[in-house]
Amino acid sequence: MNARAAIAQEPLRHEVESLPVLFAKWLVYGAAVVLYLLPLATEQAIGASIGALAVGMLLARFAHTRALRLPVTLVLAGLCVLLAFVAGQWLLDTSTGFGSRLTLILSDAVFFSLLSLGMIVALRSLSMRARVFSVLEVAFVVGAVAYTFVGHRNHMIHRPRFLSDWAWSNGWDPQMLLQAFGVVAVLASLVMLLRVQSVFKLILSALTLLLVAALFFLYAKDVRIDQDVDTNGLGLTDQEQKDKGDKGRGGQDGDGDGNGGGVNQDNPYNTPSSAPDIVVPVAIAVFHDDYEPKGGLYYFRQQVLSRYNGHHLVVAGSDTDQDVITEFPQNETLSAEPVQVMDAHLQVPTSMFLLVDHPQPLALTNSVSVSPLENPNPRHFVSAYGVVSYTLSMDYDRLLGRRSIPDSWAPEKKAHYLELPDDPRYKALSDIIVRDLDPRFAQDDVMKAFAIKRYLEKQGFYTRKENHEDAVDPAADFLFGSMRGYCVHFAHAATFLFRSQGIAARVALGYAVDNQYRTGGSTVMILNDRAHAWPEIFIEGVGWITFDIYPEQSDEPPGRIVDQDLESVLGELARNDKTAGKAADPDSKPLEIPWRAIWLGFLVALAAFLALAYLIKAFRRLMRFGSAFKVQRRIFVATLDGLGDLGFIREEGETRERYARRLQDLSPSLAGLTDAHLAWAFGSASRPDLEQTRALSRKVREELAKNLPLWRRVAGWINPVGWWFTR
């Protein structure tokens, strides 16, 4: 046969999906389109689009069976999309006489249905022509799900609202639901890979996949999905962990990689030059009592830098800064050096819930104790602890007249907190700043500090665009240069200026949350873009106080309003409310799925199925009554059942004789038994009598016993459904 003839031998290639498969695909497409259009279109438009999908699928099928050329189909689909835009706009532009509301609905419906029509015709035609384009269909479906649920990333656990609200109000974590949705989306997208197949196969494959997916889901449902690289438990040494953690934190102020830590503690200047692209909540603070900060800012401190390393300030050794708790409490409360004057402070107890790992606990300044708390929701919170803080309740002007460094300080301690770069300009500048002070306050440390603060606030320009990183002394480069920089520069410059005037100062790292962008409530959500560095000064008899610089000039956009809904959801989760405050009745029980009953029902159903199957098996095997014709048939059926149990099944379209020939080596007598049966069935005049049939059947059984290993036969006895395949 030559090549041309070989080509001609091929059957005509107009195979298309059967209608049930097409229907299944339509359902999947419809669901995807609903997801896509829900935020965009009216209900009427969505309905019309789903209808258009059905029409489009049938049209594409029709075009395919009529062997319409693919480019023609695609051009027609493109024209349809074009028409969608034109017709939608035309309806809006012309007065149709339906009134504005109806016109809008009509235009919407026409636009989206024509768009869907064009799109589906193009997609279907492509994928029917070449299998590889099925990928586009899969992408369409998966894209719908991803598009809908993309808002849930980055701890935005209250999105998408329609799903999350409902889930929370029923006491379910939407994350689980979304994982389930993901599984369903994968299954649904598999429907898109179907070609010409039977519905039975579709259902069977889908059920199998569903089972696998359900098992995986059960295994993975409590796994915390997080972008953070958790360096713990990777077998790293302490040093490596530190390095790795530092690297992760390096870009915290800018790129928002989600890892906690705020400003880079090793080199605070080494921070990117723009605000983080992705704002994620890093922690939740729940106040036990009403509390509003005096200056409108909550300072959550994480670490302080007080030792000068020749370039910038770094974390000092463990014997200094003992008022700052830098370890997480394991089992017992950790206490810090107490504040000196209690009546100058307000005791504020808070509970902190970290959403992102931090190397040190965040705590409202100035914390005196950190105690362990039970994590109310390990899926969302990485750690929880209680904090007792003493915040300064005294007005700053009441501090006037106090000295910074008490006499009781040892010289080393004094030197430590006054250490600054070997640069006379600091002292010279601070002298100039304090020179103009009222002579009455000329020696007052607090007054000097205020003067320096004012100077920086007036002269400094807040911008993230300059980081002076390459300078030998970035603080000097900032202070004696452009005066343009961000919190780290201001904090360092202020600290060095304070120190040059004999005021004990250090830089605190953490988050500063502005109360004015919140809407109240006892929950404060800390976002990663609130990372901050600020100076602290020591006042004799009061202790370390926050002494932040607020530059008057800035090119920063105003802060974003905190998402109140997310704040409240996280707050309620922190308060261990399973419904995240979404249920109308706060005491209502979350919806429980009766897993036990479902399992029990499943087991009972399984047991009933097995019992029934074995009953039928036994009945068919033992039943021997009736006319001679029936008895021979039942003997034959029992033999076939036995073969079916062992997995020897007659194939569809295989004649009984061919089946017997196929099993010739296994059981030579089967051919004889088959002939006997066929002689009965096809009305032979010389039918073998029942005794012969019985003998043949016995022989087949003996041959099977001889030719098959025991385990195979035992498996056959156990098999409950072999009879199902007898036909």
């Binding site: 059957p11 007659r650 009984r656 004789e657």
Partner: protein
């Protein structure tokens, strides 16, 4: 006015065939004779037997020198003419050429000066086994003259019909490749052949055997031959004694329907083909020692029975696939009936 020239009726000098074994013995004798003369063609020989006892005709599509004449001759020689009076020979071969005329096949009226009347002189179709070589090389006129003989078992010359022998069996051949200057048989004519068999080249062993036996003085075939009357009687016996159930009929109709519904076919199989199929199926069942037609017989014969009767859409050239594709569903239905009440 028609004048019929009937051959004399059967004389019954032989053992009457009244059992399946008797019928089978006749067939086995023929099979043994043919196998003795033709090597490596067992499957074709079986189909020849099926066609002979199934009262059909055979179209062999094969290459020159593949043994078709030997086969036909062997069959003709194996049948003993037990009616010497009718002057009908066992075997005739007609080579079809473009210049052949119908009368060269059927016979011709000859004027007899003694009696001043026209006499009919029989043509070569008056034989038990007729080998029609290269049937597609002659004009449609001659082809259709042969057709009447095949379908009606009679020839008409000058408005007078002459009956052929009841055992009239045509083996026609055509070359599948060499189609220049031929008159391909139209479907309507192909439809009258029971089988079209495509003969493949014999296998290596058989070919070697043929070469070895060539040139040696052949022993005369000592195998028993059969009487013409035996064959005819066996035919009758098979027709009446091999059971064909209704389910078999349904299966045939199902297959025909599926083939007709196939998009690759512009014309499906005819009802006549189903009618012709029944005796063929019965014969195969008999050859296999059964007195009933089973699904296996249908599976075995469906391709040679139906493949030459289909008209295909352009671009499709293999009818075998279409017939094969029609089988599983119908056979499954048929097989399932046996377990049902």
């Amino acid at each position: 006015m028609f004048e019929t020239n009937d051959p004399t009726p059967d004389t019954r000098e032989h053992q009457p065939i009244d059992s399946m074994e008797g019928a089978r013995a006749v067939a086995e004798k023929l099979r043994a004779r043919m196998r003795h003369d033709v090597m490596g063609r067992d499957e074709v020989i079986e189909l020849v037997l099926v066609a002979l006892f199934g009262d059909g005709h055979l179209l062999l599509e094969d290459y020159p020198g593949s043994g078709k004449t030997t086969l036909a001759k062997a069959l003709g020689n194996a049948i003993i003419d037990d009616l010497p009076d009718d002057e009908i020979p066992d075997f005739r071969r007609i080579q079809f050429t473009p210049d052949l005329l119908p009368s060269d096949v059927t016979g011709v009226m000859v004027f007899d000066t003694d009696s001043n009347t026209f006499h009919f002189r029989r043509g070569p179709v008056f034989a038990y086994v007729v080998l029609v070589d290269e049937i597609n090389r002659t004009s449609p006129k001659v082809q259709s003259a042969l057709l009447e003989a095949m379908a009606e078992k009679q020839v008409t010359v000058d408005n007078v019909s002459h009956r052929l022998d009841e055992l009239f069996f045509v083996i026609a051949t055509q070359n599948p490749l060499d189609s220049i200057g031929t008159y391909p048989l139209p479907l309507a004519q192909l439809d009258r052949f029971l089988f079209k068999i495509r003969m493949e080249h014999v296998n290596r062993a058989a070919e070697l055997e043929i070469l070895e036996s060539w040139g040696k003085p052949r022993k005369a075939c000592t195998l028993p031959s059969v009487n013409r009357g035996d064959v005819v009687e066996a035919r009758h016996f098979i027709r009446h004694n091999v059971r064909v159930t209704k389910s078999i009929h349904e299966c045939l109709v199902d297959i025909a329907q599926t083939i007709r519904d196939d998009r690759r076919c512009t014309q499906g199989v005819s009802t006549r083909s189903l009618v012709l199929a029944i005796p063929a199926l019965q014969t195969l069942a008999m050859l296999r020692g059964r007195d009933y037609v089973s699904p296996d017989d249908i599976e075995h014969l469906a391709v040679p029975l139906f493949q030459h009767r289909l008209a295909l859409v352009p671009g499709v050239s293999n009818p075998t696939d279409i017939v094969r594709a029609a089988l599983p569903k119908a056979l499954e239905t048929l097989s399932r009936t046996t377990l049902r009440a």
